[in-house]
Symmetry: C2
Subunit: 144 residues, 2 copies
DNA sequence: ACCATATACTTACTTAGGTAAATAAATTCG
DNA sequence: CGAATTTATTTACCTAAGTAAGTATATGGT
């Protein structure tokens, strides 16, 4: 029975990525790339480590995505004072377009969550956050 | 704010896959492969279409995974009466080992859901199922 | 019976994620 | 100071998922 839960999460994850990719098509962008743009918009220039830590993925994943985004002109990477690290920031083009994308994605999310009340959405986030391994202490659960 | 929800789903999806892969290592198996084994164990021999429809993925995804599983001896594919379709079933080896894997995965899931009561788990499934596009009618929500 | 269409699967190519190992810069310690 | 260790990023190789287009078998309409 519990299989159902992970099965369901896995499916909704794929579904949302698929829908986001569809919405991003007109901007020539992919979901993981958008996640990074969104992150940079929120926090300003940051190191690659900052990005993969926030996104909770491994370093190579971010490297690859950033290479593609640099090639397509969404981001710029420059050397930090610590020469090991590279500081990532939005390109001018990205700065201009990100608000439009944000709007488009917000509409999509609203459509996909239309069947849930605001209360249910909050409940859902609260419960999902509880999933995990032992390191799921109060601090993680408390920050809502 | 709503970004948080998809962000969270995406992360838990990755996390659960990562943990499942870790648990499956000793069986030389990957999460998507296990999903198919589980499916075949539940329903018995079925066509590839049956598998990708149940799993809610595209046909090529299943083709690829089955090719690997056939090579490593987990499944067998034979021609159906309709010569276009291929009927997939567990190998003898798989029949023997699947129960052990099932047990291992069940333990893992229990650990990952330890912070949620049974009631919360049911609630969580109910809410997740509500996520989707327009085709989210009563039938989908009612079947719990 | 034949041609057009539909269906089941496969192939080729793309993004996205992971691990392991390599590289290069910083830091620590004797 | 110099060698050893740690840290940030990259490279190489794996699974997983998607789309688009190709192949082969069934099916339907005239």
């Amino acid at each position: 029975m519990k299989n159902l839960l992970f099965h369901e999460i896995h499916q909704k994850s794929r579904l949302s990525i698929k829908e986001v990719n569809e919405a991003l098509k007109e901007f020539d962008l992919y979901s993981a790339q958008w996640s990074i743009l969104f992150c940079l918009k929120q926090f300003g220039p940051m190191t690659q480590k900052g990005i993969w830590q926030y996104m909770n993925v491994e370093a190579p994943t971010v490297t690859r995505t950033l290479v593609r985004m640099e090639q397509s002109g969404w981001i710029v990477r420059k050397e930090g004072s610590d020469k090991r690290e590279r500081i990532v920031q939005l390109s001018e083009h990205a700065e201009q377009v990100v608000p439009q994308i944000e709007k488009r994605i917000a509409e999509l999310e609203e459509r996909m969550l239309a069947a849930l009340t605001d209360e249910e959405q909050q409940q859902l986030i609260r419960l999902i956050k509880k999933i995990g391994m032992e390191d799921n202490k109060e601090e993680d659960v408390a920050n809502d």
